[in-house]
Each structure stands twice: as C-alpha cells, then as structure tokens.
C-alpha cells in the first residue's frame, strides 16, 4: 500500500500539449495510440526512479466540438521538489523520455512550474491556489478543460477566471487546486478535500466549450522490458497513475 506523501505545491509541472498537425486520416487514432503505448507508461517507468511522485494525464483530444485552441493532452507531474525535476535531466532516462515527444506535439506545447495565485492570471503561467503540500496520487482529483467564449476578449476571460479562482482560494475547501489559462483556454485541476466542495461549476459557467474529466486511478500492468501492448486510451480519458514512489519500500 502506498503511503501518503506531501508534495510541495510548487513542485508540479503543468503540461499543455497540442497534437502535431497531420494530413493522415489516422492522425487522431495514432496520437491516442502513441500516448497509450509509449508516452504515458514511459512517463512513469522512466521517471519514478528520478523522483516522480504523481502523474495525472488527461486527453481532451478528439472530444466532440473541442476547439483546436484547447490542449489535446494535459498533465500534472509532481516531483519531490523543483530541483529534483531539474536534476533529472542529468540522467539518460529523462533526456531520452523528453526527446520522445518531439514528433508528436506542436508549438506552443509546453510545461511550467506554477506560482502561488495572488488574484490575477498571466497568460500561459500556471498557478496554484492552496499553499499546502498534498499527495494528489492518493486523492480524488477532478479536471476541467475548456475554451474562452467567442464573445469574451482574452483579457476579460482571464479576469473572470481570476475572480472565480479568488473565491475558490478564499473558501479553502479544496485540498489542492492548480490552474492555467491562455488566451483561449483554461485547464484546472482540483484535489477534493474532506468537505467534498468543488469550484469546478463556478469555472465551467465562464467557458464556451468545456469538459470535466475524473482521472481514474490506474496502475501499470508491466515494466519497461515486459512484453505489453500498453494502455488503451480514448478521447476524454483521464488517469491518476498509481505507482510506488522511489522512497517507498
């Protein structure tokens, strides 16, 4: 049984990935296949020994009516610390893992560490709302991905989102919350606390297209060198990957 582990709230990489353009009719299916057979399993198996403490990928790609401006794949990746993540690049495993992505994603795909939310949102700059460590792998996580309504300018969109996040932060009823907004999208994750309260509904009303995803606790069946076709991933899936952290016996 995994123990709870308190990950610092700023030691999380917030990934927003956009599928590379392709004229092939199988491009969407190929993307989902690549995620399931390579990227998601490899993220865990190649990085746990470096200090990965939580990994929650979700796949809005291919959902009906999703605008292209909303990321196709999102993920939050928790580390022992920001330094642990940085040190990972000194190892071959992490350098290799990182370079497997190049052919599949297009700009502006990327990941950043968040900073503590202080009432305003900077475009493409993730923030966290609850300044307390938490173990997201062991909790109930909810994810929201959505688009800016056409009639709302980007600055107003982010101001409205910031206002809703301020309320969520003031209530303090969730155990953790991470958000990132661009000009045209919002991605938001919430670690539900004991009260069961959630701020997702208040954010959903500010979006045009949106989808709420409940990442499913999922363990890997096999190791790096075992014969295994990988995971089956469909549009709209989300996973809270379950694995033994490096410090666990």
């Amino acid at each position: 049984m995994n123990q709870a582990f308190e990950v610092p709230p700023n030691a999380v990489r917030v990934w927003r990935g956009y599928r590379a353009a392709s004229p092939l009719p199988t491009a969407q299916a190929d993307f989902l296949s690549k995620l399931g057979t390579v990227f998601v399993p490899a993220t865990v198996e190649m990085q746990v020994k470096i200090g990965l403490d939580g990994y929650i990928p979700s796949v809005p790609a291919g959902l009906p009516d999703k605008p292209d401006t909303v990321p196709d794949e999102t993920a939050i990746l928790f580390w022992d610390s920001q330094q642990t993540y940085t040190d990972g690049f000194k190892t071959l495993a992490v350098r290799t893992y990182t370079l497997t992505h190049n052919a599949v994603y297009r700009p502006p795909s990327g990941a950043d560490f968040p900073t503590l939310f202080a009432g305003t949102i900077t475009s493409e700059h993730p923030c966290y709302l609850i300044d307390k460590p938490a173990d997201w792998m062991k909790g109930n996580v909810q994810h929201l991905a959505g688009s800016r309504p056409d009639a709302v300018p980007p600055d107003s969109f982010r101001a409205q989102i910031a206002s809703a996040l301020t309320q969520i932060q003031k209530k303090g009823a969730v155990s953790g919350a991470i958000a990132c907004a661009g000009d045209n999208y919002l991605v938001y994750w919430e670690l539900i606390g004991a009260s069961g309260a959630s701020g997702i509904d208040s954010l959903t009303t500010l979006l045009g297209w949106s989808r709420r995803i409940t990442p499913k606790p999922t363990g890997l069946e096999k190791g790096l060198w075992d014969v295994w076709p990988g995971m089956t991933i469909n549009s709209g899936d989300g996973f809270n990957m379950q694995f033994k952290r490096r410090w666990e016996p």
């Binding site: 690549k34 057979t37 390579v38 399993p41 490899a42 198996e45 190649m46 020994k49 470096i50 040190d87 000194k90 190892t91 071959l92 495993a93 350098r95 290799t96 893992y97 370079l99 497997t100 190049n102 052919a103 599949v104 096999k222 190791g223 790096l224 060198w225 075992d226 014969v227 295994w228 076709p229 990988g230």
Partner: protein, 258 residues
C-alpha cells in the same frame, strides 16, 4: 568480470547507415547522438535482445555528402527478438527518438543476407555463415567513397568481386559484413583476437575506394546506467566503439533470463 559469450547468427544483425538531417550541424548531430541516442540504444535494448552494438562516427573532413555520417551494427539474439522488442515500452520509447536527428529518407537499416552473387546497392551482406559474438573480440571498420571517375554500377561490381575474393582467404576472420550504396561502401570484420589484424585484406578495399574511416573499434564500458547522472558519450573522442553491453546472462540451458 568478463562477459559470457553469446554468439549471434550473421543474419540477425541490423546494419545502419545514418545521414544527419540537413538542417543539423555535425557538431549538434554528434552531441545529440552521444548525449542521448547512442547510450539510449545501449541501455534500453539489451534486456529486449540486443546482443552487440558497434556505433561509429564518420570524420567529416573530405567526406562526400553521399557517404553516411554515422554507421552502426546492432546484433539481435535473433530476427524474431528484434521484432518482439517492439512489444516493450523501452524499445518503443527508444524508437520514438529517431525523428529529428537523421535524414530519414536517406538513412536506413536492414538485416544482412548471405553474399552469394552480385552486390545490390543498399543491401547489407554477411560474408561468413557462422554465429559470432561481436561484442567480444576485435572489430575493424572501414568506410570508403566511390571514386569520382567510376560509375556506380562499376563500383558495385568491383566491390562484389573483392568480397568474393575476401570470402576465400582470411583464415582468422570469423565474421564480416558488407554494404555498398551507389556512392559508398561500409565493411566490418571480426576476429576473436587482434593478432591477425595486420594480415587483413582490407587494403584491397581501400584501393577500390577513397577511404573515409579505417579503425579498430575500442571497447567502451558505459560508466552509468539509465538513472545515474551522466552527460553521455563524447563521440568526438570515442568515434568507433564496441559498447560492452550489460546483457542478461543465459542460464545453464542457454535461455536468456530478462
């Protein structure tokens, strides 16, 4: 501790001829291969059946663009082991690395076949039909360019004639691999010990082409594993190496345990 011998049939070697991507400088190409690609091959694939790996960088000075920038021999336990390797996450991840570094239209690898008649361009051949453990012993590698005044068809013909002669003579060579393109030839020979190297017939091949590389591969031991801090292999210093892989040891019955 010395590695136990694990001979591989000569038709289970993938012969790679790599050309760098046009937009990539040779310095960046070498750095990428050394920091990620070559060590990843050596660390991610032995557990899936890779039994020997001999990568080489080709000196750029005077090298025609039609000659590969990098070569490699990758010996698999069997051809089936190579196919089965893609059933693992490790090898699928490694395979996804190829994209940016190489000119994928010009770079390729094929399994070697027996040389019994004329040399066909871009088809690798083995010259001796016996299993050999190429990770152990002595590997000499030659790369040459087609003489400018010679046609490609004539070049392939004389290479074929030379290979047929080579097959008849070298008593101490137990493995040899050849591949020729329209503009280049790559050749490797293996001996159990280095004593006979001076007697190599490679001089004949050197007279039929413009030599770009002629080296004995240095044994190279990886100083770190996948998860230890390490900057990678400096391929400017280690430009022709026989990487000493951490291979799973066969059990008493000869079966490889992963």
């Amino acid at each position: 501790m010395s590695a136990r011998e694990q001979p591989v049939a000569p038709d289970s070697v993938h012969v790679w001829r790599g050309f760098k991507a046009q937009q990539t400088s040779y310095a960046d190409f070498t750095k990428f291969l050394g920091s990620v690609f070559v060590p990843a091959c050596a660390l991610l694939q032995p557990n899936s059946g890779l039994r020997a790996y001999v990568p080489s960088m080709v000196p750029q000075s005077g090298k025609p663009a039609t000659v590969p920038d990098q070569t490699a021999l990758m010996f698999w336990a069997t051809q089936q082991a190579y196919q089965d390797a893609f059933k693992t996450v490790a090898v699928r991840a490694y395979t996804n690395l190829h994209g940016g570094a190489y000119d994928t239209k010009r770079s390729s690898a094929q399994f070697a076949v027996a040389l019994t008649a004329q040399v066909i361009a871009e088809q690798p051949y083995y010259l001796f039909d016996r299993p050999v453990d190429w990770m152990l012993g002595n590997v000499r590698h030659f790369i040459g360019a087609r003489p400018a005044a010679q046609s490609s068809s004539d070049f392939l013909e004389v290479i074929g004639n030379w290979a047929a002669m080579y097959q008849k003579q070298p008593a101490d060579v137990d493995g040899a691999l050849l591949c020729a393109g329209a503009d280049y030839v790559v050749f490797w020979e293996h001996r159990a010990s280095p004593q006979g190297a001076a007697l190599s017939l490679l001089g004949g091949l050197a007279r039929l082409s413009t030599p770009c590389l002629d080296k004995i591969a240095d044994n190279y031991v990886m100083p770190a594993g996948l998860w230890q801090p390490w900057t990678g292999i400096d391929l400017t210093q280690n430009d022709c190496i026989n990487i000493q892989l951490a291979r799973p040891e066969p059990d008493a019955g000869g079966e490889i345990k992963r």
